[in-house]
């Protein structure tokens, strides 16, 4: 059994105490009620305790969660003291933490709608791009004649960053949503296709030979041999593909959407309402972290044979 009540743990909770006491003080700057901020601090503390508990049962280092949370508390303390308590920061550019956290309970409807709208686009583009890439990549990689035609073409088209033709796609596609889904799709499709062609082309010779002496036809080859062979590569590339899609999405949304996370942020940037902008950052961060967490679970569960 490892000790939970070690030094970093005590430091973290001392800082937490100081932070809460500071927040409860009346500062120099007039701010929104501090309830939401305190709830936010409480949630971070809960997450931290959960991570500690998980780390203890998994024989992982107990120090890392404490170290991280110490940094978080220090950051929030500085933010709180410089802005709310002493009011020495730029009044418009650096919003108070109370104000930023107050956005969540008051605008949660708009934020939630934005998140849902963005996630729809993201998932559609992501899964279509990934599926097309894999489904086309396997036969193209396997059949030499197809490969010799498609590989050079893909090599030329793949490196063009989709953000470059995003404005054009938004102009020619009937709706904005279809355009941004297409931008994400293309951003995922080309790298996936290239990756599949290369991976199929470099398949382990021993596996290939055992398949060939069993006289498998092209269909069985693609479905029963090549697909499971490339699957770990696809799964391990999921996080990168996901990050790419998020970048593509927020970019597309900043270009011309009327809702979504990217729109929310760019819209309030135009109004110089940086309180909402920072709240938007936090929402994007939380959503992306959540998606990455889901992908991580998929990665550990998907491949049983390694």
């Amino acid at each position: 059994m490892k000790k939970i009540f070690n030094l970093p743990f005590l430091v973290a909770h001392l800082l937490l105490l100081i932070l809460i006491v500071t927040v409860l003080q009346q500062g120099q700057k007039a701010v929104q009620p501090n309830t939401a901020f305190l709830v936010g601090i409480g949630l971070i503390e809960l997450l931290y305790l959960y991570k500690l508990w998980r780390a203890r049962s998994k024989e992982k280092s107990l120090k890392a969660p404490s170290d991280i949370v110490v940094l978080v508390w220090i950051f929030l303390l500085i933010w709180e003291i410089t802005v709310t308590q002493l009011n020495i920061m730029h009044p418009v550019l650096v919003p108070a933490p109370e104000d930023v956290f107050h956005v969540f309970p008051t605008q949660y409807r708009t934020l939630l709608e934005g998140v849902v709208s963005s996630l729809q686009l993201l998932l559609i583009g992501f899964f279509l791009g990934l599926s097309f890439g894999v489904i086309l990549g396997l036969p193209v990689g396997w059949i030499p004649r197809l490969r010799d035609v498609c590989f050079p073409i893909a090599n030329v088209l793949a490196p063009i960053p989709p953000v470059v033709f995003a404005p054009y796609l938004i102009a020619i596609m009937p709706t904005f949503r279809s355009a941004s889904a297409l931008v994400i799709l293309l951003g995922i499709f080309w790298p996936t296709l290239l990756g599949m062609i290369i991976r199929v082309g470099s398949i382990d010779r021993r596996i290939l030979e055992s398949a060939r002496v069993l006289n498998v036809d092209n269909r069985t080859m693609v479905l029963k041999i090549l697909f499971p062979y490339v699957l770990p590569g696809v799964v391990s590339g999921l996080k990168v593909s996901l990050t790419t899609s998020v970048i593509m999405l927020t970019f597309a949304e900043m270009m011309g959407a009327t809702k979504g996370m990217g729109f929310y942020i760019i819209n309030y940037t135009h109004y110089a309402n940086y309180t909402n902008v920072v709240a938007g950052f936090i929402v994007v961060g939380v959503v992306v972290t959540f998606l990455n967490w889901v992908v991580g679970i998929v990665q550990t569960k998907a491949i049983k044979w390694q």
């Binding site: 021993r206 069993l214 069985t220 390694q306």
Partner: protein, 264 residues
Amino acid sequence: MGAISIKELSFSYTDHNQSYLALDNVNLQINDGEFVCLIGHSGCGKTTLLKILAGLMLPDKGEIRLGDRLLQGPGTDRAVVFQHYSLFPWMTVLQNVEFGIRQAKKKMPKRQAQQLALKYLDKVGMAAFSAKYPYQLSGGMQQRVAIARALAMDAEILLLDEPFGALDTKRRKDLQRLLEQLWNNGGQRKTVLFVTHDIDEAILLADRIIFMRPGKITACLKVPYERPRKQEEISKSPNYEKLKADLQQLFYLDSELKKHEEDL
């Protein structure tokens, strides 16, 4: 049906514009139902010959017939066990064997194929591991599964590249007996080409032992003993020592020649 006829076969590997003649004008007749062992130094072309017979590589020159058909590519009339483990890592032990069976016998129902797979896994002592994935097995265990897969396909021709190399003495003995029995096939003998480095194993199993030097077949010895053979019985018979000495001589002679060449 299972006869193999190799005429004036040549094959060279080419990489980076360098060509290496791995088989040089090889001629070999293997009769239907004959058990042939192939021995020779490492790198003399045994695996190359086997891969060509498996249909994985096309010869540069010469022709190969299986029965009266020209060899044109891979086929399930031949079952192959490679020198290196060759299971599909994403299939369980059972699925690997079942996949082989269903490739050879497309019409066999899934359940029946599974039962047959289990039967052969049992014969090689791997039935208890049927739900495991290859990465969970030792090298020798993987090789036994590969052997089970090849044998379960019930092909007319078996091409085996040092299949027992990674096994301990007892397993090796068991599998030698199993192979002899499956080869015999109740009198309907299969044709076997078996690569080994073990002279005792070759004498125990083969009707004929072929000796290779780099790129060429240089000797061919008949093994006269009655079947089924027992190691203890044949090692007592009068000409066993001579046969063994002859084979050892071949290995020895070869290294002598090499040494001589190097000296020059």
